[in-house]
């Protein structure tokens, strides 16, 4: 299922692992503190941010559980479209986030492997995102992420993020938040 599954994964040094963990926790905090412009800067200019739809398929269907790149996705974004989404929130008229969601991004099960080039790492993580809003609305989003991080001028950037959400039918009425 994962693009990395075919090749042998080589873990990074503990020092890099710690660095990546710190980066991901920092990212989660930026989202929960609604510092979306700062969050955007964590992405490389060529970033790809993708959350394909998932289907109820038989076990034997394997990877077909997820729609492929030409099929439907909840998100299929480049940095420009992510920026437009953030600017949209700035209008003060994005009613799904006005008043805004209160989110809690929990990132766990972090595994970091060497990437395709010395400046890249491959990161697997699980996430749970809690969102509450408008008196009693509550949503739980769980899934896994597969990130490619790249070191650019001494800082980690998210070059690729694949988000695999566990639900086939979202129990939320929208995805007005980021993952």
């Amino acid at each position: 299922m994962s693009s990395a599954a075919a090749r042998e994964l080589r873990p990074v040094e503990d020092e890099v692992l710690r660095e990546v963990e710190r980066f991901l926790y920092w990212e989660a905090r930026l989202l929960d503190e609604r510092r979306f412009h700062d969050w955007l800067e964590l992405f490389s200019d060529d970033a790809h941010y993708w959350m394909p739809v998932r289907r109820e398929r038989s076990l034997s269907a394997g990877t077909a559980e997820f729609a492929d790149e030409s099929g439907l996705a909840f998100f299929d974004e480049d940095k420009e479209s992510l920026r437009s989404r953030v600017q949209r929130l700035d209008t003060g008229m994005a009613w799904a986030e006005e008043p805004p969601s209160r989110t809690r991004h929990l990132v766990t099960n972090i595994e970091v492997f060497q990437g395709d080039s010395p400046s890249q790492v491959l990161v697997f993580a699980n996430f749970q995102v809690y969102r509450t809003r408008l008196e009693t609305k509550q949503d739980f989003f769980l899934g896994s992420r597969e990130d490619t991080l790249r070191k650019e001028s001494g800082s980690w950037k998210i070059a690729r993020r694949k988000i695999l959400i566990d639900q086939t039918v979202l129990s939320a009425d929208n995805l007005s938040i980021f993952f």
């Binding site: 959350m51 394909p52 739809v53 289907r55 109820e56 398929r57 038989s58 269907a61 729609a67 492929d68 030409s70 099929g71 439907l72 996705a73 909840f74 998100f75 299929d76 974004e77 479209s81 437009s84 989404r85 600017q87 949209r88 929130l89 700035d90 209008t91 003060g92 008229m93 994005a94 009613w95 799904a96 408008l134 086939t168 039918v169 979202l170 129990s171 939320a172 009425d173 929208n174 995805l175 007005s176």
Partner: protein
């Protein structure tokens, strides 16, 4: 009960009782008198490739299995075991010759025949007549240019009569190019805790909300080029018999690509306009830019954003939305790719337009419970009495901002709920 129903929708005055958006008893009647009697959208023929392909869906709250049989006939069957009622198929889609119930193992062919019963010989003593215990068929299944509809009422009129004048408008989606339309792979599915009618009525005729609800999307560049969501400019809300309706922007001799999502798609629309004009004629060629509409009761579409969707009712205060992306089959791959991005960035649950709709419907549903609030009807009066008959456009025509279509939708709803008129009967 039925007597009281007559007063819920006051078509003449444009007033609707809020009870219809949260009352469990009314919801139960809707399942029986609307969802078990109207033609409902099941899926698209492009979801089928090989015999044995199937997908599952719902008709009201009845689970349905739609299969392409060995004879390449499409059949719809209730996805319910005749023995204890377990769903015989729990998958969204796949390919299978038969379906075995996971409870006791009764097995049905993809044509619905009961072909296997464990211990049929030893413990049923072969006394169970398998012929009589196949899956319950959906008695009517018909297509309109690739759109597959089913109807649980065996006495219903044919689909084309049910659609009536709406078929002429649906051609804007499914017949504007040679080769028709197809779905991209996958569906968006999500839950909104609102009454299904708020969603259906929004799509049937509500252009009025776009500028306010979707203000952020319009302001931040998620509208197509030159698209205006103000009251100015030509456009119509057109209602037709049986509760259907459509809203169109009318581009008189202008730029065919107004409102198109991207330069690729704009160029494509300009290029294919002569083909569309040849196929659909000059009147409908003026309706290429964004269009919204609903086929009564719960099938809706946005032409400009290339989505079709069903509002599955899941109780009086819950909708499960199933949405797909519909594209011209003969569009080049790069155009399909551009349309796909346009759709999912705007009208998927994370879409920059879609996400701002749901709260409105949820709040409107929740406030319908208030005992005092309920004493005051909702207002559906915009453009009342200003509808007209317009040469060349089938149906009753209202302004681009008008509640003409919503009134027509609820009038039909009330007729069916009170049992005053059967499906497909003309006004």
């Amino acid at each position: 009960m039925t007597n009281g129903l007559k007063h819920l929708v006051d078509f003449e005055r444009g007033l609707i009782n809020r009870r219809i958006f949260s009352d469990p008893e009314i919801y139960r009647l809707e399942l029986e008198r609307i969802f078990a009697r109207c033609w409902l959208y099941l899926g698209h023929e492009s979801q089928f490739h090989e015999p044995g392909d199937f997908f599952t869906t719902y008709m009201g709250e009845d689970p349905v299995l739609v299969c392409l049989g060995p004879d390449r006939q499409i059949r719809a069957l209730l996805n319910v075991c005749r023995h204890r009622g377990n769903r015989v198929c729990r998958l969204d889609q796949g390919n299978a010759k038969d379906f075995t119930c996971s409870y006791h193992g009764w097995t049905y062919s993809n044509e619905g025949k009961l072909v296997g019963v464990p211990y049929h010989k030893e413990y049923y003593f072969e006394e169970l007549d398998k012929e009589k215990w196949g899956l319950i068929p959906v008695p009517r299944i018909e297509q309109y240019k690739g759109l597959i509809f089913g109807c649980l009422d065996a006495q219903a009129p044919p689909l084309v009569r049910y659609l009536g004048d709406m078929a002429w408008y649906l051609d804007l989606l499914v017949d504007r190019r040679d080769g028709g339309a197809e779905l991209l792979e996958g569906a968006h599915k999500w839950v909104i805790n609102a009454n299904w009618k708020f969603a259906a009525e929004n799509f049937v005729g509500d252009m009025y909300h776009a500028g306010m609800t979707h203000a952020a999307a319009v302001k931040s560049g998620f509208a197509g080029s030159q698209t205006k969501y103000s009251a100015g400019g030509a456009g119509f809300q057109i209602s037709v018999a049986n509760g259907h309706g459509i809203g169109v922007r009318w581009i008189e001799g202008g730029d065919a690509a107004v409102g198109s999502p991207s330069p690729e798609v704009a160029a494509y629309l300009k290029e294919m306009l002569p083909e569309m004009e040849r196929r659909l004629g000059p009147v409908r060629a003026k309706m290429m830019s964004p269009v919204h509409g609903s086929v009564f009761p719960n099938f809706s579409f946005l032409n400009g954003s290339h989505t079709i969707r069903v509002w599955h009712p899941k109780g009086p205060e819950k909708i499960e939305v199933w949405a797909w992306c519909l594209v011209d089959r003969n569009a080049p791959p790069e155009v399909k790719a551009a349309i796909r991005l346009h759709y999912l960035r705007r009208f998927s649950p994370g879409g920059t337009w879609e996400q701002d709709d749901s709260d409105n419907w949820i709040q409107a549903t929740e406030t319908s419970r208030g005992a005092t609030t309920r004493r005051f009807p909702l207002n559906y009066q915009m453009g009342r009495g200003h509808e007209r008959i317009q040469e060349g456009l089938p149906g009753r025509v209202g302004d681009f901002f008008s509640e003409n279509n919503q009134r027509n939708f609820y009038r039909r709803w009330a007729e069916l709920l009170t049992g005053e008129r059967r499906d497909g009967e003309e006004k």
